[in-house]
């Protein structure tokens, strides 16, 4: 009774070809007919409202066919905080097709389309993107993405919540190029140790890697405030009032939480995605994309610098309806267009078919987004505590080849085995020294050895979970902060790792990571929309994969040498 059972009916005689087709993995995926009345439709629905706006006394009094007395709290929040009252009537008067063409036309600058976008209502935005096919959507993403240089984000988790594994895989992920690393837990009490592992591993792999630990909101905030993590992402928002209320939340409560992070200089973004409302049965008859556009505007209105979207954990829903993956690309476009950092999905198990997994990825990978995956699994999927990603460690080489084939930068690179072993080993040793200094349960040499060569959690000796959980609690009870960890790393002889970590912590004071799409480059310089602004203006402009970086991405595991065809390039 699992999802890998073939679904053919054996009583009717079928052709041999049909048998082969029936056995193809894509037929294990689920597909359903649309039901627009209930919102089970991607983006083309007669039940979505018509665009409209009316301003009276500097206040929006009508939004998409509803007057203020008919507003639900999403309408109110968007009308009061997300839409530019001064420009909205003029912007709304522009023909949708004209706006769509401006997005695609390289001669219209990003600044102009972003400015125009500030005055649009959700229904108008939907009306515009409905006119665009998937290639035009990709054109739009290429132009409206905030940061000039694309990047990528990884999941680093462990089925056994083993902090040494998380550290080693974080180190490998960081050296392979991920700008951000994210973890979560099976046993929540393990969080402090695993978050420390992620941070230490990240700083070993490449100084300046940013980390976060997805937990319930209070603990996630606590770890951020202590400087054990560097950013936060899993603050979910929804497109209808009823779903919000079911989660005991409102746009205002989420905005309040966002300000709590900002006040401490911690980078954070919201999370939303198509399909979540209809999956909970509360789509209120609107299409998935219409509701997602409401989320995007809510995020903008709350003042957060970014959004993780692209259906995320509901990807099975848009993935099953016609045009669903086009709608998912469109939501990434809208987030970018609304001038938000966009961590663009590709982060949950999506299909049994490798071909379909790849095609789902291209609308983000080819144009480039701020984070192509908002969670590429840097551990085997069976260790992925976010329930599996569209891409995992087994796909590293495929990804590198696609980057090279298409000459696109997906944020990763091929790294030689000896370098990988070195950073994995160092991450494990740094953890060993740090645990010893902090009176945490010892990490044995055997564990360090295992971490150096491991693939999955099966390859590590089991830890004494009871002792680890006591240790995790003591980290919280003793009030250990990022600065304490820096001090301990320095004392334990990992001065370079301590220095990297300290430089990440300094960002808390400077606040530069609060800029849209901010990441730290190899020199710890924040790269964000403000100093690495996307300047795409047609062929020959914007980010181009050239020079040193292109040379780096030409390298693969096996490339035959031109000079000596009997050898491979190292």
């Amino acid at each position: 009774m699992t999802a890998v059972e073939p679904r053919s009916d054996s009583t009717v005689r079928t052709s041999k070809r049909t048998e082969i087709l029936e056995a193809r993995p894509v037929n294990l995926d689920g597909f359903v007919e649309e039901w627009p009345e209930k919102g089970l439709v991607a983006m083309e629905s007669d039940f979505d409202p018509q665009p409209s706006v009316r301003v009276e006394d500097g206040r929006i009094v009508e939004l998409d066919g509803r007057t203020r007395d008919q507003f639900d709290f999403m309408d109110t929040f968007i009308a009061d905080h997300a839409i530019d009252v001064d420009t909205c009537e003029a912007a709304m008067a522009t023909e949708s097709v004209e706006i769509a063409r401006m997005i695609v036309d390289p001669r219209t600058s990003r600044a102009d389309v972003v400015a125009l976008g500030r005055g649009l209502t959700p229904a108008k935005i939907l009306d515009v993107v409905k006119l665009m096919n998937v290639v035009e959507i990709m054109m739009g993403i290429q132009k409206t993405r905030s940061r000039r240089t694309p990047a990528n984000q990884a999941h680093s988790t462990s089925a056994k919540d083993n902090p040494i594994q998380v550290a080693a895989d974080a180190a490998e992920g960081a050296v392979r190029g991920f700008a951000e690393l994210e973890t979560t837990l099976g046993v929540v009490r393990y969080a402090p140790l695993v978050a420390i592992g992620l941070q230490v591993g990240g700083q070993v792999g490449r100084g300046g890697t940013l980390t976060q630990c997805a937990l319930e909101e209070a603990t996630e905030l606590d770890l951020g405030m202590r400087g054990i993590t560097a950013y936060a992402e899993t603050i979910s928002i929804y497109g209808t009032e009823s779903v919000f209320v079911d989660g005991d939340d409102t746009p205002w409560s989420k905005a309040f939480l966002a300000s709590a992070y900002a006040s401490r200089g911690i980078k954070m973004r919201f999370t939303s995605g198509t399909g979540s409302e209809v999956q909970m049965g509360n789509a209120e008859g609107r299409s998935m994309l219409y509701l997602e556009i409401r989320c995007i505007l809510m995020a903008k209105g709350a003042g957060v610098q970014g959004l993780q979207n692209g259906s995320i954990s509901c990807i099975g829903v848009p993935g099953a309806v016609p045009g669903g993956i086009r709608a998912v690309a469109a939501e990434n476009l809208v987030a970018s267009w609304m001038d938000l950092e966009c961590a663009s999905g590709n982060d949950q198990s999506f299909s049994h078919s490798p071909m379909r997994r790849t095609s789902r990825l291209l609308p983000q990978m080819l144009p480039g987004t701020d984070f192509v995956c908002s969670g590429y699994s840097a551990v085997p999927n069976k260790d992925n505590m976010f329930a599996g990603s569209n891409l995992e460690t087994d796909d590293y080489d495929d990804w590198n080849v696609i980057q090279r084939d298409m000459q696109v930068d997906g944020g990763l690179r091929h790294v030689r085995e000896d370098v990988i072993l070195q950073v994995r080993n160092k991450a494990a040793r740094a953890m060993q020294a740090l645990f010893a200094e902090l009176d945490l349960p010892a990490i044995t040499d055997e564990e360090v050895e295992a971490a150096t060569y491991a693939n999955s959690s099966d390859d590590y000796p089991d830890r004494d979970v009871l002792a680890d959980l006591e240790g995790a609690r003591s980290v919280m009870d003793r009030g250990i902060t990022g600065i304490d960890l820096v001090r301990v790393l320095e004392r334990a002889g990992f001065g370079d790792v301590a220095e990297n970590y300290l430089k990440v912590l300094r960002q808390r004071v400077s606040g530069d990571l609060l800029q849209t799409a901010a990441v730290l480059d190899a020199g710890f310089v924040p790269r964000a929309a403000i100093n690495d602004a996307n300047d795409y203006a047609g062929p020959g402009t914007g980010y181009r994969l050239t020079g040193e970086r292109w040379e780096e991405l030409k390298k693969l595991r096996h490339v035959t040498s031109a000079e000596n065809p009997e050898e491979e390039v190292v």
């Binding site: 689920g30 209930k38 049965g281 990807i315 099975g316 993935g319 198990s349």
Partner: protein, 192 residues
Amino acid sequence: MTTTESVRTLSLTEIGPAERGTRPDEVVIALSPAFGDPFTKTIVDVPHAEVIRQLLAGIEERGGSARVIKVYKTADLAAIAHFGAKLSGSGIAVGVLSRGTTVLHQRDLARLSNLELFPQAPLLDAEVFRMIGANAAQYAQGQSPRPVPTRNDQMARPRWQAKAALLHLKEFDCIDKDRNAVEVEPVITKVD
């Protein structure tokens, strides 16, 4: 324990309004609006007749007694099960949605809490329903059974997530806000 060659069909005969029971060991099985009619099987084609038969068998094997009620005013699983628990003489109820999603509830718990939750309907087969019934009976008798092992399948999302949403929407369509819950007699007929 597996289903046999023959097919069993289910009809739910209404026997009166759903009322509070008095037997201290009884389990209430609370069904969602579309259970049995118009739907006849779960998301993975387990016949509703088999779901009920196995739940009842699990309860009977453990020496318990059961009543079955059907709820019309809501399709929210937690609400259905909690409503059932409040009517149950023991305070224990099993809530079941048409697509198979099941929860074990107790009347003193908060609505959104539960004793055991089986959220992944595609992974529930006849054998699991039998174990859920057996555990419900044991909770009703004040025992502390080992929780039914939960299964997990990362690839259930691409295959079943959308169908689950569709079935959920269909179930919502069967909500009748004006119709009170009724006690039903499950009549299971074997068709050879």
